[in-house]
């Protein structure tokens, strides 16, 4: 069965989510991945939004995190400080998995969503951190969505908006951050992870039909590709639930 790149990315992200996880998500594909996980492989996960809404009913996909659909049938509606405290809290924070995106990422999973060029005289100014810096600082596991392009996988970030593993092995510990950090990067070509000890990015999987060379060509820095295997495409069951139950109007999935 045919599937789109967006469907593949959503399903690969959903598979990272486990029962018992508290899933922090924003608008768009991250919300869809969380919904897919809840309907497919992690029915006991809890979806939670930056707005503070926890466990919303989500009969329809909201187009923004403060849409009234996010409050509808929620177990709890909070404020912004509560939402971030859920991640900073020593008890709940351990269970949170975050979903992020960025304009640039480096080999240690640090990300930039602020500027291209000099901060004080930028070539391109983006919208800014939003809550990404906080999520990246607090949560033990995060998923990062990226488009696989050379200008996005860079040797040096123009601005470090949200901390990943910082400078490697003990980077987070030395800075005073909670343990954990970025766990997996999901792109339109591949899945990347980080070595346990060095915290350097490596190629964990490539999508069916994508060559390892092509993945490397689209990155400024080299990564270890020796452990890479083909990523299992979405199953019929996964696709069916994603298309029919999670986003029947294809608001996030887009055209086939």
């Amino acid at each position: 069965m045919k599937y789109t790149s967006r469907e593949m990315m959503t399903i690969v992200a959903a598979r990272q989510i486990r029962n018992g996880d508290i899933v922090f998500c924003g608008t768009g594909i991250s919300m869809l991945a969380a919904m897919a996980a809840k309907n497919i492989n992690a029915p006991e996960s809890v979806i939670f939004f930056e707005t503070g809404a926890i466990d919303a009913q989500l009969d329809e996909i909201p187009m923004a995190v403060a849409d009234s659909r996010v409050m509808f049938g929620a177990s709890l509606n909070g404020g912004l400080l509560d939402a971030f405290a859920t991640m900073q809290n020593r008890i709940t924070g351990k269970k949170v998995i975050g979903i992020l995106g960025a304009a640039q990422i480096d080999r240690f999973g640090n990300i930039n969503s602020t500027v291209i060029g000099d901060y004080f005289n930028p070539d391109v100014r983006f919208s800014g951190s939003g809550g990404a810096c906080d999520v990246a600082s607090f949560v033990p596991r995060s998923i990062i969505f990226m488009q696989h392009e050379k200008r996005k996988f860079v040797n040096k970030l123009d601005y470090l908006t949200s901390p990943g593993h910082l400078d490697g092995a003990d980077g987070r510990k030395n800075a005073g951050l909670a343990p954990g950090g970025p766990e997996v990067i999901i792109t339109d070509m591949a899945v990347m992870r980080f070595h346990d000890t060095t915290k350097q990015m490596y190629l964990h999987g490539y999508y069916p039909g994508v060559k390892k060379e092509k993945i490397l060509e689209n990155m400024e820095f080299e990564v270890d590709v020796s452990m890479a295997e083909e990523v299992r495409p979405p199953s019929l069951e996964e696709l069916k639930i994603l298309r029919e139950k999670c986003d029947p109007q294809r608001l996030i999935l887009g055209k086939i």
């Binding site: 930056e50 707005t51 509808f72 971030f84 900073q88 901060y119 951190s129 906080d134 470090l160 987070r172």
Partner: protein
């Protein structure tokens, strides 16, 4: 506007059930949902605390050139668009805008030339990405930005509301926020010696919020996600409150759990039905997604944005005219489709 006429002809009976004000809307405004009732309860007829005024007067009186203004305090909902448009109409200058995530309202005010500085975590168009006026202004150097994360700006307002110089956190350590924001510093915790982040307090000159309903004295109900509204309001010198409905004090007092800040802190109460459009107002109307998609095109260049300003702001006297411009069909299309009421609770003794 409605508030000039409605108190005389639309006051609900004082003994009417509590929910009358929100269920029986008989306004002649195109935006509906705009009944205004007077303060007929004996306990709330104090003239001295009556803060009801026009939007024009509220902005004129409490937003001075050069002021720091917090608005857009609960993400993409309940954004005080009508108040922001009045700021543009009055051609305020050198404002500092403060919020965690502004949807397109900051972009609009920046594009109108009213702003010299932004203290925020995210400025753009939430469902499409970039805010083009913001981008142009920063890339040209015509405004300065104090970058925050959502949590740091929230902590700054929390500290401001509590009357302390900073709030501690474990966020942002290792990030470049420390290099570009002088109000964010590292320190060692005096209790545990852990490395922590200190976020300097922010106290805006004025915080502008759009909520569901209020009495004439500024006692207001809010429901839905509250964002950082409470802290932004309590940290400010003045609070301007714009609301969908004015209700008798007893409606507010029947459910004090929904009140975020005391009425005595509020400087101005303004009745502005549909004042949050195109953002959603829980209990009143849905988000006008198309408006945000259209705005993306309408703000792409300086010249098309000039046309947008002329059409939606300069040629429009007030919110009623704005609603006429939107048209009845569009307003009707944003009505709630599913009604779900909360159960009332017992507050007796």
């Amino acid at each position: 506007m409605d508030y000039n006429t409605a108190p005389d002809n639309a006051a609900p009976e004082e003994n009417a059930p509590t929910n009358t004000a929100s269920t029986e809307r008989t306004s002649n405004s195109i935006a509906s949902g705009s009944i205004v009732s007077v303060n007929s309860a004996s306990s709330d007829n104090s003239e001295s605390t009556d803060k009801l005024m026009s939007l024009t007067d509220a902005i004129d009186k409490f937003v001075q050139d050069g002021a720091s203004v917090a608005m857009c305090t609960c993400y993409e909902s309940l954004i005080p668009f009508a108040a922001g448009h009045e700021i543009i109409r009055q051609k305020k200058k050198n404002l500092t805008l403060i919020c965690p995530i502004s949807d397109i309202l900051f972009d609009q005010i920046i594009g109108a030339g009213c702003v010299s500085k932004v203290r925020a975590a995210w400025v753009g168009n939430v469902i499409t990405g970039s805010g083009y006026n913001f981008r142009r202004a920063v890339e040209k150097g015509s405004i300065s930005v104090e970058d925050h994360s959502n949590f740091t700006i929230s902590l700054a307002l929390k500290a401001g509301s509590m009357g302390i110089p900073f709030m501690p956190s474990r966020t942002a350590l290792g990030s470049d926020l420390f290099k570009t924001n002088s109000g964010i510093k590292k320190f060692n915790c005096p209790i545990t010696d852990d490395r922590l982040t200190a976020v300097k307090a922010i106290n805006p000159d004025v915080t502008i919020v759009h909520l569901q309903r209020s009495d004439r004295h500024g006692n207001a109900h809010m429901w839905g996600n509250t964002g950082i509204t409470k802290e932004a309001a309590l940290s400010a010198e003045n609070i301007i409150l714009t609301v969908e409905e004015i209700v008798p004090t007893r409606v507010i007092k029947s459910d004090p759990g929904r009140v975020l800040f005391p009425g005595f802190r509020v400087s101005a109460v303004v009745h502005v039905p549909f004042g949050g459009h195109p953002s959603p107002v829980p209990g009143f109307y849905n988000r006008d997604h198309d408006f945000f998609l259209e705005y993306r095109e309408d703000s792409k260049t300086v010249s098309v944005y000039r046309n947008w300003l002329e059409k939606w702001i300069y040629s429009v006297k007030d919110r009623d005219q704005y609603c006429n411009l939107l048209g009845k069909n569009r307003i009707d299309s944003l009505k709630l489709l599913k009604s779900v009421k909360s159960e009332t609770v017992e507050y007796g003794y």
